[in-house]
């Protein structure tokens, strides 16, 4: 296999006008052209300028990734497209809410592991907890995995948000 066939994951940040249909444009582009979306987050980030930031984790060969970026950039309401994976160091974070039900030793163990992972308890009943855990996807995944044996009943994950290191804006 040559380097041009190697499939790798990329985290792409896209700054867009916050207008109806923009998410459909982006998602439709991915489904219509057969690209992969592993994670997608979107929210308004600049109320004054009415801009949203979309973070997409995708994978593909270098040629496909280049296409994805060019195709995104071609959408009229898109202001900027940045491939954080190739443009210098960056940080990624994800937040998960994890609901665990149980009593006795399992409940104590869940709380103890939450402490190790610096997960916060944001809801508690006598037989359940909801933890809030943040970190990179690996950490979140590991924590969720551990909870599986301790009465895991529900998980909600935000998907990845990411930003380049250093002082430069997107």
């Amino acid at each position: 296999m040559s380097p041009s066939d190697l499939v790798s994951g990329h985290t792409i940040s896209v700054l867009v006008d916050n207008e109806p249909g923009i998410l459909a444009r982006v998602v439709g582009l991915f489904s219509g052209r057969g690209y992969n979306i592993e994670s997608l987050t979107v929210a308004e980030t600049d109320a004054k300028e009415n801009l949203s930031r979309i973070t997409i984790v995708t994978k593909g060969t270098p040629m496909i990734i280049e296409q994805i970026k060019a195709q995104l950039d071609r959408l009229v309401p898109v202001h900027r497209v940045r491939d954080l994976t190739v443009e210098g160091p960056h940080i990624e974070r994800e937040l998960a809410l994890v609901k665990v039900r149980g009593t006795g030793d399992k409940r104590v163990e869940a709380l103890r592991l939450a402490d190790v992972f610096r997960a916060k308890v944001i809801d508690a009943k006598t037989d359940s907890f909801v933890f809030e855990v943040t970190g990179n996807s690996d950490k979140v995944q590991t924590f969720v995995g551990l909870m599986e044996g301790l009465g895991l009943v529900d998980v909600g994950r935000t998907g990845i948000v990411a930003m380049s290191r250093g002082g430069e804006a997107l």
């Binding site: 041009s4 006008d17 109806p20 249909g21 459909a24 444009r25 439709g28 219509g32 040629m63 280049e66 296409q67 060019a70 195709q71 950039d73 071609r74 959408l75 009229v76 309401p77 898109v78 202001h79």
Partner: protein, 589 residues
């Protein structure tokens, strides 16, 4: 004192905005949701409305208008079925980069989402088949949206833009806002000017070539007629051979000795072999479409590739290139010429002489040869005779899709851009007649001919009624072989001659059909009478349908079968036995 009331309804604002955008003609079809617009149109006489008979035809007509003038084509259709009928045309315009603004009616804002009568999610449906689309939710945004839509449609790589207009927005009142000049769009600013450093690199590569070839496409047409003049100038400066894509025909004069003809699946032997054997390939405004490249792994395997395109997403999409240059074709050519003249590079004349000798060897195969007898008209012969009679007249050609389209591309010669309107990317049967209407509206005195097949013409035959209403002297030149010829050709080559559903049963009598619509109908089946028929067609200043009965079994050659490489062409019917189609190739279309 009462505050002054805004005087203008949304519909009136819209019409004013269209006039400010220098629109002269709108192709459309009325319906409930757009009645306010039709009322506004009724009250003015700056904009001309052309009533088509099907909304798909409105878009194709606007495409023909746009392609032959360089202006934006404008379409007006109603909500629901009006909009869905326009989808094929919009997709066609998207694939071929034709600037269109399509106004669609919509149910009133308070009914959107209620499954109201003639409601469709138009922006949802047209999102993947437009360059951009808008739903105007308040009349205050209307004039600005229209101006922005025209800017988006015509700038960068052109394309269709839909503006969805709820009926209440058209009836509410607001003040008109004139367009900004020049338009400053907040996010869409395509790169027009190429990077100088890359132009210099390109000149170095081009000057050093031993076996160069230019390969130019629709991007040169879209850049304006000046770009084609610059292209000819640059190609002449270098003395290199040039080939055109289907969409690029006319960007370089076909009669010029440096022209190798069209390339691709039904391109000439010399053009395709030049692509295969070249060492420097200069692509200007073409997109390495699969009909051009054939088998990707064997596409132009020995060349350094330069690709000039205004759309960065066209670069490195199918074929990896060595020198990508983002920019407008005309601007890039201007720079190329300037740098070439400044540097006065010395080309390798000896190598070029050998390269031309090689090309002349391929040319001598005479790949477009066919045998005309006294019995039946060969379609190629019909087109050669047609060209003979029109070449000294101001003429425009449109086509439908299929064998006749490829023969037209091979046998009609185009000396300048904007003269050739065909559905390239989408391959839309039924494109040619409405496109010819649009061309004729823009060029009243010119000879406009739709080269058609008897199958394609049936797809938008209702437009004969439009042609009659506006007295458009469009000529419809049908090469009637009683088959969907291209389908039949593929069934012959790939599916053991099992002609499944490709025979045209129960064809109408085209002469009577023409007469029923108020046009002139002519028929010809004898080679000896062909010239007279063509002359008669040209001589009548009325719409004419000519039913030319041609050889039913003639196939379109040369041909690169799907999945094959450029050096693996079929030159004629005797060639096919030697080269069975690969399984891999059969999957491709």
């Amino acid at each position: 004192m009462k505050p002054e009331e805004p005087a203008t309804t949304g519909a009136d604002l819209l019409v004013k905005a269209l006039i400010d955008e220098e629109v002269e003609v709108v192709f459309g079809y009325p319906g409930g949701a757009v009645l306010p617009i039709y009322d506004s149109l009724f009250k003015q006489n700056r904009l001309r409305h052309i009533l088509v008979r099907h909304e798909q035809a409105a878009v194709h007509a606007a495409e023909g208008y746009a392609r032959s003038t360089g202006k934006v084509g404008v379409v007006l259709v109603t909500s629901g079925p009006g909009a869905t009928n326009a989808v094929t045309g919009l997709t066609d315009a998207l694939m071929d980069s034709i600037p269109i603004v399509c106004l669609t009616g919509q149910v009133p804002t308070h009914l959107i989402g209620n499954d109201a009568f003639q409601e469709a999610d138009t922006t949802g449906i047209t999102r993947p088949c437009t360059k951009h689309n808008y739903l105007v939710k308040a009349v205050s945004a209307l004039s600005r949206t229209v101006h922005e839509a025209f800017y988006v449609a015509r700038s960068g790589r052109p394309g269709p833009v839909v503006i969805d207009l709820p009926k209440d927005v058209l009836m509410n009142k607001y003040d008109y806002v004139a367009p900004d000049k020049p338009v400053q769009h907040k996010s869409y600013r395509p790169q027009v000017q190429p990077e100088l450093a890359k132009i210099e690199q390109a000149i170095e590569l081009i000057a050093g070539a031993k076996k160069p070839v230019f390969y130019t496409g629709g991007g040169v047409v879209n850049s304006g007629s000046k770009a084609s003049r610059l292209l000819a100038q640059f190609v002449h400066l270098t003395g290199y051979p040039i080939t055109n894509t289907l969409m690029g025909l006319g960007t370089f004069p076909a009669s010029d000795k440096q022209f190798l003809g069209m390339l691709g699946m039904h391109g000439t032997y010399e053009a395709n072999l030049a692509m295969y054997h070249c060492d420097v390939l200069i692509n200007i405004g073409a997109r390495f479409d699969d009909r051009i490249t054939g088998k990707l792994t064997e596409f132009s395997p020995h060349s350094k590739k330069i690709h000039i395109d205004i759309d960065p997403s066209s670069i490195n999409k199918n074929v990896r290139v060595d020198l990508p240059i983002v920019g407008d074709a005309g601007h890039a050519l201007e720079e190329l010429i300037r740098v070439w003249k400044a540097k006065q590079p010395r080309t390798d004349l000896k190598a070029l002489k050998a390269w031309w000798a090689e090309i002349d060897g391929w040319r001598s195969r005479n790949c477009l040869a066919y045998k005309q007898d006294n019995e039946t008209i060969k379609p190629q012969y019909a087109l050669e005779r047609l060209y003979h009679h029109i070449k000294n007249r101001d003429h425009y050609i449109t086509t439908e899709v299929g064998q006749h389209q490829m023969w037209a591309a091979q046998f009609l010669k185009f000396e300048e851009p904007n003269r050739w309107m065909t559905s390239g990317g989408l391959g839309t049967m039924g494109y040619g007649l409405p496109a010819a209407m649009g061309v004729q509206i823009a060029h009243r005195e010119a000879l406009v001919i739709d080269v058609a097949g008897e199958a394609s013409i049936m797809m938008n035959i209702q437009e004969l009624s439009t042609v009659a209403q506006y007295r458009l002297p469009v000529k419809i030149f049908i090469l009637n072989n009683q088959y969907m010829g291209m389908v039949r050709q593929w069934q012959e080559l790939l599916h053991g001659g099992r002609y499944s559903e490709s025979y045209m049963e129960s064809l109408p009598d085209f002469v009577k059909l023409a007469e029923a619509f108020g046009a002139v109908g002519l028929r010809c089946h004898e080679p000896a009478k062909l010239d007279d028929t063509i002359k008669e067609m040209i001589g009548v200043n009325r719409p004419v349908v000519v039913d030319v009965l041609v050889d039913k079994t003639e196939n379109c050659f040369p041909m690169i079968p799907s999945g094959a490489a450029h050096n693996d062409m079929l030159l004629g019917p005797d060639d096919k036995a030697a080269k069975p189609m690969s399984e891999e190739g059969m999957v491709l279309v």
